[in-house]
Amino acid sequence: MHEPSQIIMQIDNLYLAFGGVEALSGVSLEVRKGEILGVIGPNGAGKTSFLNCVNGFYRPYKGKIYFEGSHITDLPPYKIASLGISRTFQHIELYTGLNTLDNLMAARHSLMKSGALAGMLYFGKSHQEEIRHRQAVEDIINLLELEPIRKKVVGALPYGQRKKVDLARALAMKPKLLLLDEPMAGMNVEEKEDMARYVIDVHELQRIPIVLVEHDMGVVMDIADRVIVLDFGKKIAEGTPAEIKTNPEVIKAYLGSALAQA
């Protein structure tokens, strides 16, 4: 067991159901400071449901989520976001009518202090605040190499680029914990490699713990420090990538039982 000070998020015995379908049944895990935690599992294993519980979209009917020691299970999503948990979405959620820059600036809304009136007048403190936020956003643009699309409307961008903007948006919120929901889904090999590179860069530079939910085993095995495997809403394995690769339960979940025995 790790020291409590090493743990940023603790999840105890989480249960979530949609009518009779049990999406999560008794999932417990912890996210440690500074790690990339991979969460993998076959289709319908409950990976996205799990993320949706963490950031408050879904309400688990049993179980507790603690973030930095405080209980957050019953908080609404916007409060959870302002605590410093930020996420990307499997199906990109951006303002498609705004350009990249505006999307990122909008993401910093929860960090801005000036009121609406001061913002409109754009004078004194609110002016300085805007510049400060713009600097932070530009650092992210630089990190993720978004310069060529800074002023492009997001709705017109190709899919891989929008995924990048989605990651940038999550980063712009200055998160203490970053949840990535299938950041590589629907990408070709080259785009996947680039995205993996960016995730590593973000992690190295900002030392933020990352929970990476991903369908693609290869990517997760390459970049995660620790991996958790879900299957039918249950945690079936936990360990280093090397341990997970040889775990018979995991092989069974992915390939079926006949092969696992062979």
Binding site: L101, E138, P148, E190, E193, E204, L205
Partner: protein, 634 residues
């Protein structure tokens, strides 16, 4: 020409610092979305500390320093710093592969390598065991390198710090090395592009490089009010003369784009008064205009087609040194306001004093087209070994030529038609290759290896490389490049190899279609396709390309006409060594590689099966097989 007191680039830098100090901007670079500025004084200080930093790390006079990466203020400072310490700078193209980098760095015996970012550092670290002479690899973009611990690495700022410390201990040392610098010190190595054999390093002295810039400055009005956009590699003569030499001589402001992908956007923001595009870029812009016009609103298209001929007419009148009459003037004004001005604005070409092209032959049609749009497009013919040879002077434009020989160049055409040059800007020989130097300098003239002539008005016409002028079986001579540059005027043809020879009775061509423009063309006509391999073999596309070839054939003598062609199933690619890094076709390599196709072009077959090996990114290999159509031309 009045001799300059400042006979080295370093002394010119010092002069500009004294002349403009903190009052004038020397460089601008877009970073974090903002154009950051550096005054001449700031540049001088950076160079000073960088240079002293290198000296404290062991750089001595005559040592070589390589610069690997995109062209940025840091690459300029690195070059200036090496030169201020009486060393030699060597630019390397950012997209070179590790083996290519290894060749340049080991061949030139570099002691230091400046590397832009993680990508370039990774290349160097992967070959570092084979670079025993390299003392430090110095990077300026630290992204992703935060946890690299290789002792070979050092950041730009660390070197600047070393320089500051060194200066405190040895005040006046920097000024003294600049004072000691001599005009015959070697300022840069320019590697030949290696169209034939391994690249050779042409040694360029300060005197030569200053001569190049000085001549341009005298022929074209460039001064310190000018803005230049720099985005070509320091490995290329174009950047060394237009960027480095011009900047120091004229005191103009040099701008650097944010990313290679944002060049067009940044050019529009800055509105530079001088622009140097390679012929490929001009061809690209021309193709874009033509293709976008096909897509444009019918009304816009209508006006474009009405007023373009007006512009051509005006251009012709101006070329004949006559004045257009009132009607033409009025029409031109309307056309300019409605079509040309917005078009130039979109392309970031508005308000240009002079725009250049050079490097390889450009199609006269393209020159003419941009001239008709009202741009003072100037062709520059120069090579690493000689510097500037010929260029159009202002208001002396001929689309077919490279302009008259530059005033201080002596030029001769040999019996075989080869262009021979003597000049003050001549190189100081090839590094470690006296034999090649001697061969190219027979009789005191530099043998360019280019085939050309001087026309009736004294303009130089460069036809082709000597080695590439070909003879057909019946003894008729033709120039493949002549046909190629003209075919590339078509929006649908990205590149083309024209084939012929003593064992062949006619000329044929391998065409690389422009996937974007042909794709758009196909979409409008509801022709479904998947990849370039598929699209290139469509009957309709063959017919489209055939029309372009027939148009060219009309302007050629019977024997030089292209009788058969194929549309290649892929792009010519620099990574597969089919193009050089400056995107010239590696002719003999390509001919060798596609020898099967060439054989088929001279048989009675109507199609040929080709196999192309594919290397996937994870190292797996595969073979793609497909059939290519051989198309005859009437």
């Amino acid at each position: 020409m009045a001799m300059l007191v400042e006979n080295t680039l370093s002394k010119l830098l010092r002069r500009n610092c004294q002349r403009y100090g903190s009052k004038k901007v020397a460089m601008r670079v877009k970073d974090r979305g903002i154009w950051q500025r550096y005054t001449w004084e700031q540049c001088y200080q950076k160079v000073q500390h960088l240079s002293l930093g290198l000296i404290s790390l062991g750089l001595e006079a005559g040592d070589k320093v390589a610069i690997l990466g995109e062209t940025k203020p840091e690459s300029y400072w690195a070059e200036f710093a090496a030169q201020a310490a009486r060393g030699t700078a060597i630019g390397i193209f950012a997209d070179c592969t590790p083996p290519e980098v290894e060749y340049f760095v080991t061949h030139s015996e570099c002691k230091f390598v400046f590397a832009h970012d993680q990508e370039q550092v990774d290349k160097l670290l992967s070959i570092s065991s084979r670079l025993p002479l390299v003392k430090k690899v110095i990077y300026w973009d630290a992204k992703g390198l935060w946890f690299y611990t290789d002792p070979l690495l050092m950041s730009f700022d660390q070197v600047l710090d070393l320089g500051r410390k060194y200066e405190a201990l040895h005040p006046g040392h920097f000024e003294q090395t600049i004072e000691d610098s001599r005009s015959d010190d070697i300022a840069v190595f320019l590697y030949t592009s290696g169209t034939t054999g391994l690249p050779k390093a042409a040694m360029i002295s300060h005197q030569s490089i200053i001569t190049w810039g000085n001549e341009m400055k005298q022929l074209h009005p460039i001064d310190d009010s000018d803005e230049f956009m720099s985005f070509l590699s320091l490995a290329w003569i174009g950047e060394q003369s237009f960027g480095i030499s011009n900047m120091l001589l004229s005191g103009m402001t040099t701008n650097f784009p944010e990313k290679p992908e944002t060049v067009q956007e940044n050019i529009r923001e800055i509105g530079p008064s001088i622009l140097f595009y390679s012929p490929k870029l001009w061809e690209n812009i021309n193709r874009t205009i033509q293709a976008k016009m096909i897509d444009a609103h019918p009304l816009k298209r209508f006006f474009y087609h009405i007023f373009l001929p007006v512009n051509y007419k005006i251009a012709d009148i101006r070329l004949a040194n006559e004045k257009p009459n009132f009607v033409w003037k009025a029409l031109h004004l309307v056309g300019y306001t409605m079509v040309v001005r917005p078009l130039l604005d979109k392309l970031g070409l508005l308000g240009k004093k002079v725009v250049y092209t050079g490097g390889i032959a450009i199609s006269p049609d393209i020159m003419h087209f941009f001239y008709a749009l009202g741009l003072n497009i100037v062709n520059v013919y120069g090579i690493s070994e000689t510097g500037l040879i010929a260029t159009h002077w202002m208001n002396d434009f001929k689309s077919e030529t490279c302009g008259p020989p530059s005033p201080q160049v002596q030029l001769r055409i040999s019996k075989e038609g080869e262009i021979l040059v003597r000049s003050q800007g001549l190189f100081s020989g090839y590094y470690k290759n006296a034999e090649a130097t001697q061969q190219s300098m027979k009789g005191g003239w530099y043998h360019t290896g280019d085939f050309g002539n001087i026309n009736e008005v004294g303009h130089l016409v460069v036809m082709d490389r000597m080695a590439d002028v070909k003879e057909l079986a019946r003894g008729n001579k033709f120039s493949p490049q002549y046909s190629e540059t003209r075919l590339r005027f078509s929006p649908y043809i990205k590149d083309v190899l024209v084939v012929g020879g003593e064992d062949k009775t006619y000329v044929s061509a391998i065409v690389n279609i422009d996937i974007e423009n042909v794709g758009r063309w196909a979409e409008i006509r509801h022709i479904a396709y998947t990849t370039i391999a598929d699209l290139s073999q469509k009957q309709e596309v063959t017919q489209l390309i055939r029309k372009d070839i027939e148009r060219l054939n009309k302007s050629l003598p019977d024997w030089a006409r292209i009788k058969k062609f194929v549309n290649l199933h892929k792009d010519f690619d620099a990574d597969e060594a089919e193009l050089t890094r400056t995107r010239k076709l590696r002719r003999s390599f390509v001919e060798e590689r596609y020898s099967d196709i060439i054989v088929a072009l001279y048989s009675n077959d109507t199609e040929i099966m080709v196999e192309s090996p594919i290397v996937y990114r994870d190292g797996r290999r595969g073979v793609m097989k497909r059939s290519i159509q051989i198309a005859p031309v009437d």
